[in-house]
Amino acid sequence: MEQAIFEERRDQIHRKGEGPFELACNRDSLAGAVSQRACVFCGSRVVLYPIADALHLVHGPIGCAVYTWDIRGALSSGPELHRLSFSTDLQERDVIFGGEKKLKAALLELIERHKPNAAFVYATCIVGIIGDDVNAVCRDVAAKTGIPVIPVQSEGFKGNKREGYAAACKALFTLAGTGDTSDISPMSVNILGDFNLAGEIWIIREYFEKMGVQVVANITGDGRVADIRRCHGAGLNIVQCSGSTMELAKMMEEKFGTPFMRVSYLGIEDMADSLYAVADRFKHLDPGIVERTQKLVREELSLLLPKLKEYRKDLEGKRAAVYVGGAFKAFSLIKAFRHLGMKVVLVGSQTGTKEDYEELASICDPGTVIVDDSNPLELSKFVRELDVDLFVGGVKERPIAHKLGVGFCDHNHERKEALEGFVGMLNFAKEVHASATSPIWRFVPRREAMAKALKEQETAKRAAGGEGI
């Protein structure tokens, strides 16, 4: 069993309560370890993907572009350019002689065809190696077409997803500060790090509107180029999924003086706290906002809580494992599970930082296993050992859970179910309940074997007890 853990990775795994907390993280993945992690390109694609009126051109061989074709659940209220997969599909010839000419021609062709409001050009692994001057091509095409053409330095091998987030923030930052801000109210926000999966940002926007807060730009969800250009006029940046967009918030604070605040829309407390925190920021401008926010939260909770109670009845005492891309999401999930009466016994992420893990360690129960950059062997080992009833993760984690006879909740960018906000908490509970309480698990061989062993134990116990009488 122990064998599942690579010697080199021992310090990336910690069991809370066993020794002082220290977790190695932000390291390159171990060769041969089948990491669940993607790459720099993936990180930048995640952040920029939902900008729906921009062209997203992947400069490289075909693979990276097709594997990211419309795989996310990010919805748009208008244009849907982001759902197409554009590539320069580099061929051997281009690799030898350079791909700049092809890139330029492809850009001109696509801009002509789709008339986007901006174009992002993603440099992939190989472009970094062959040394195409992507910046020069972008400058050139921008001058010719009159739209911003923005290079994204996302060569896959230059680090992990985090570097991709940074590259995307840099790209976004070139747009900020270029639009007109004259009609923006001081009581206004930008929403960062929400990807509008299954329309989640629309739920959040509605809350803000009810509170009387103007939303200037949904930077990373249902995004529009024009909004991002004027986002520096907003009074506050609210940052969810801080790993991905914190960098942008910091740059904006430095250059435009826009303050920022970290929030989470997952779970009850985090959602409510986030709204209250925003209200707090603006109450000097409009004292009524606090009351409006309280009213909103109260109304939502009065609908939600009775329904949650129903689910909780069946879920009480069940054990959950959480393995997600960013660590911040894990905090909210731990709290959300508490509302369902469930206990998180394994938690980890692909890209957590030292501070993230410290915070994680501080909120989870003793005995909880915390992992960084894990892999199928480790995850399956822990699911088994910790006797997990439900796993929360993405597509790659799903077969691990299912093979072990464990329920699963999709909590990644592909999901088609909104999990944010108060209604999202209900959806989450519904999904967790549907999977964890399904009758099918009794047929799964591992569960069958466990049930059999338990029965035998009880019979033995009864037999032993019987003798005493």
Partner: protein, 451 residues
């Protein structure tokens, strides 16, 4: 060469070579696919494959970073192989290169030679390598290249002659391969199916998460290929200098019979004829009956599909085979499109429709979905036939989609779709007729319940 008039690619109708290689390697017993490149591609491919098969797909990576990209990936490759040996207990490691390692010029055969020398004191697995630069070819070429590499690198000497058939089935579903094996059993012959993803990519529920899923072609069975009566290699598209079958033929004089993917009566007949030829056993009664039932169904259903216009797209071998099938039931294939290019695509389409269609369907190679849709606008198709990535186009055109091949990301049960042989053709025919009936019913204001 590509038929696309455009420089840019929109919604490609192909995947990259290492993905095909990784899948083919998964079809060998005790093997772990290993991509020599950066971490990201292995993860993306896993995700993509898992979404279709709903099975674990562990692909190891040498996880190159910036330093290795500059100084060479050798140390990571070696360390990675040691790691999968110790943790997965892999007895075969299938190493495929990627665009990154091909471009930085890592000489994988030399690195592996060094590796074997450096660690000669360890019980080393078989290591098979294949060059799969993702900037040339498609996942199908990756699949075929990996299959050829397995045959050329693992079969090292002439095995004792025996009554054995080598089946090199091409990229078909696990259900297809299980059915192929049933057929071979019915011929009472020993066989090697290379590769065999039928078990690994469609596992029963078991007690545990398996590090290395059971199933796959055993190495001993691969070695035995050189003593076989002959090989049957499925797939008409021709893009390789040497395939697994021709390699064995050249080195060990194992006769290689090339047939199309056996879909439709004529292509299936050719497959069964090849089996009869190699084994001397006539078509078993069970299969003769299935053939008879299929033709009976053709007769009963022909009017529902007669004259319907179909656009077929996807992997070249599958497109050719689907065209063969559609043509013989009276559906008009009006466009056959693939993201790949091969030496004989157009010729193969002409061959499989000969005597049935006055002229072969229009063929387009090296195209993407933008090209296909643009042309489809003038073609007024009744149905699209291909993998599920064409769904949004079918939706836009307002026609149904008959899902075949890989990937099926928007329906359940992709790995259990049957395509080949009389039985596979039967399920395709039933599905096709029903798809058309369903549409007719949905479009009808009357709501006939008796069609």
């Amino acid at each position: 060469m590509s038929d696309s008039p455009y420089v840019s690619t929109t919604n490609a109708c192909k995947l990259c070579t290492p993905l095909g290689a990784a899948l083919a390697f998964r079809g060998v017993e005790g093997a772990i696919p290993f991509l020599h490149g950066s971490q990201g591609c292995a993860t993306y491919m896993r995700r993509y494959i898992i979404s279709h098969f709903r099975e674990p797909m562990d692909i190891a990576s040498s996880a190159l970073g910036e330093k290795q990209a500059v100084f060479g990936g050798g140390p990571n490759l070696k360390k990675g192989i040691l790691n999968v040996m110790s943790k997965y207990g892999a007895t075969v490691v299938g190493v495929a290169t990627t665009c990154l390692t091909e471009t930085i010029g890592d000489d994988v055969p030399r690195l592996l030679y060094e590796f074997r020398k450096e660690f000669s004191d360890l019980p080393l697995p078989e290591i098979v390598n294949v060059s799969t630069p993702s900037y040339s070819g498609t996942h199908m070429e990756g699949w075929h290249a990996a299959t050829a590499a397995l045959a050329s690198q693992l079969v090292r000497e002439k095995a004792p002659a025996e009554r054995r058939v080598n089946l090199i089935p091409g990229f078909v579903s696990p259900a297809d391969i299980r059915y192929f094996k049933e057929i071979l059993d019915d011929y009472g012959v020993a066989y090697t199916v290379l590769p065999d993803i039928s078990e690994a990519m469609d596992r029963p529920a078991l007690l545990d998460y398996e590090k290395l899923p059971a199933g796959g072609t055993p190495v001993a069975s691969i070695r035995a290929m050189s003593g076989a009566l002959g090989s049957i290699e499925c797939g008409r598209a021709d893009h390789m200098a040497e395939s697994a079958g021709t390699n064995l033929e050249r080195r060990f004089e194992v006769r290689n019979i090339r047939v199309g993917l056996p879909i439709g009566v004529r292509e299936s007949d050719a497959f069964f004829a090849a089996l009869e030829e190699l084994t001397g056993t006539p078509l078993p009664e069970k299969h003769a009956a299935e053939r008879g039932r299929l033709i009976d169904a053709y007769v009963d259903g022909h009017k529902y599909v007669a004259g319907k216009r179909a656009i077929v797209y996807g992997e070249e071998d599958l497109v050719i085979a689907m065209v063969a099938f559609l043509a013989e039931i009276g559906v008009k294939p009006i466009l056959a499109a693939t993201g790949a290019t091969c030496r004989n695509f157009k010729q193969a389409l002409a061959d499989v429709t000969e005597g049935i269609l006055p002229e072969p369907p229009e063929a387009r190679e090296g195209v993407d979905f933008h090209d296909i849709a643009e042309q489809a606008a003038d073609l007024a198709p009744d149905i699209l036939v291909g993998h599920s990535k064409g769904y949004r186009y079918a939706k836009d055109m307002g026609v149904p989609l008959l899902r075949v091949g890989f990937p099926i990301h928007d329906r359940f049960g992709g790995p259990r779709l049957l395509h080949v042989g009389y039985r596979g053709t039967q399920t395709l025919f039933d599905r096709l007729v029903n798809t058309i009936l369903e549409r007719k019913q949905a479009d009808s204001g009357v709501g006939y319940g008796y069609l």
